[in-house]
């Protein structure tokens, strides 16, 4: 699991790579929260999941947690680039209802 980010036009885009599961979730949470805390003035945050090779419901829980954190600061979050396998989990959990597809 690896995380990179870019800031452009006041939009924070976070790229998550590798496998997002019970094993990697707590490390991913720490890194994501550090990046988010440093960019709380963003207009929106886009989670780009195109580099994710595997994600289960633990990854959904992690993303919902980041959504809740951001919305407290009135920052909407979006999901981009999910592969078909990742998207199947996202849709089943209704995640696009709160973090729309970007």
């Amino acid at each position: 699991m690896d995380i990179k980010y870019t800031v452009s036009n006041n939009n924070l885009t976070v790229f998550v790579y590798g496998e997002l599961d019970e094993c990697s979730a707590s490390q991913a949470k720490n890194i994501l929260d550090r990046i988010i805390n440093d960019n709380l003035n963003s207009q929106k945050v886009i989670f780009n999941l195109s580099g994710i090779s595997f994600m289960d419901s633990t990854g959904i829980g992690l993303l919902i947690g980041r959504y809740k954190k951001l919305i407290k600061h009135n920052v909407p979050s979006y999901i981009a680039g999910a592969t078909p396998a990742t998207e199947k989990v996202i849709k089943l959990c209704g995640l696009y209802n709160i973090m729309p597809k970007y």
């Binding site: 419901s57 959904i60 992690l62 199947k88 989990v89 959990c93």
Partner: protein, 144 residues
């Protein structure tokens, strides 16, 4: 090879989820699954093993058995733990229900298993453990 069966036993370290998924992938590769079929199965296994790690053994490291069997055009996946057990299985399988609301848990584990596999059965006894029995039809038999 019409019938085949193999099982592994491992400890409830979260690092072993990756190994469990890899084990299923290698086993399934013997019957040429499609990418999406295999991804469904790997996700279901990951959910089952996560349950063992997070819920069955919350304060200790315990034993997990993952059993795979291919039989009559079905892949059967059985996951056994010997942990705390589930108090109320009907409640546990409800979408979005989590027994750990203070953690960032989606509560969708069993829903994903039920949605991605053709059948899921859960047996649990308090302080004895939980067994999950899942199966999914092999893809080539769907196309017949």
């Amino acid at each position: 090879m019409e019938n085949n069966k193999i099982k592994i036993e491992f400890l409830s370290y979260s690092e072993n989820e990756y190994i469990a998924r890899g084990f299923v992938s290698v086993f399934a590769s013997t019957f040429n699954p499609s990418v999406s079929w295999l991804s469904d199965v790997k996700t279901a296994v990951s959910e089952g093993v996560t349950n063992c790690i997070v819920h069955a053994y919350p304060n200790e490291i315990g034993k997990i058995i993952l059993e795979l069997e291919v039989n009559n055009n079905y892949l059967h996946i059985n996951i056994y733990d010997f942990g705390v057990g589930i108090d109320n299985v009907n409640k546990a399988i409800e979408p979005f229900y989590t027994s750990k609301p203070n953690e960032e848990r989606s509560g969708m584990g069993f829903t994903i298993m039920q949605s991605f596999m053709d059948d899921v059965k859960i047996e649990s006894a308090l302080n004895k453990g939980t067994s999950i029995f899942m199966c999914k039809k092999l893809l080539n038999s769907v196309e017949e």
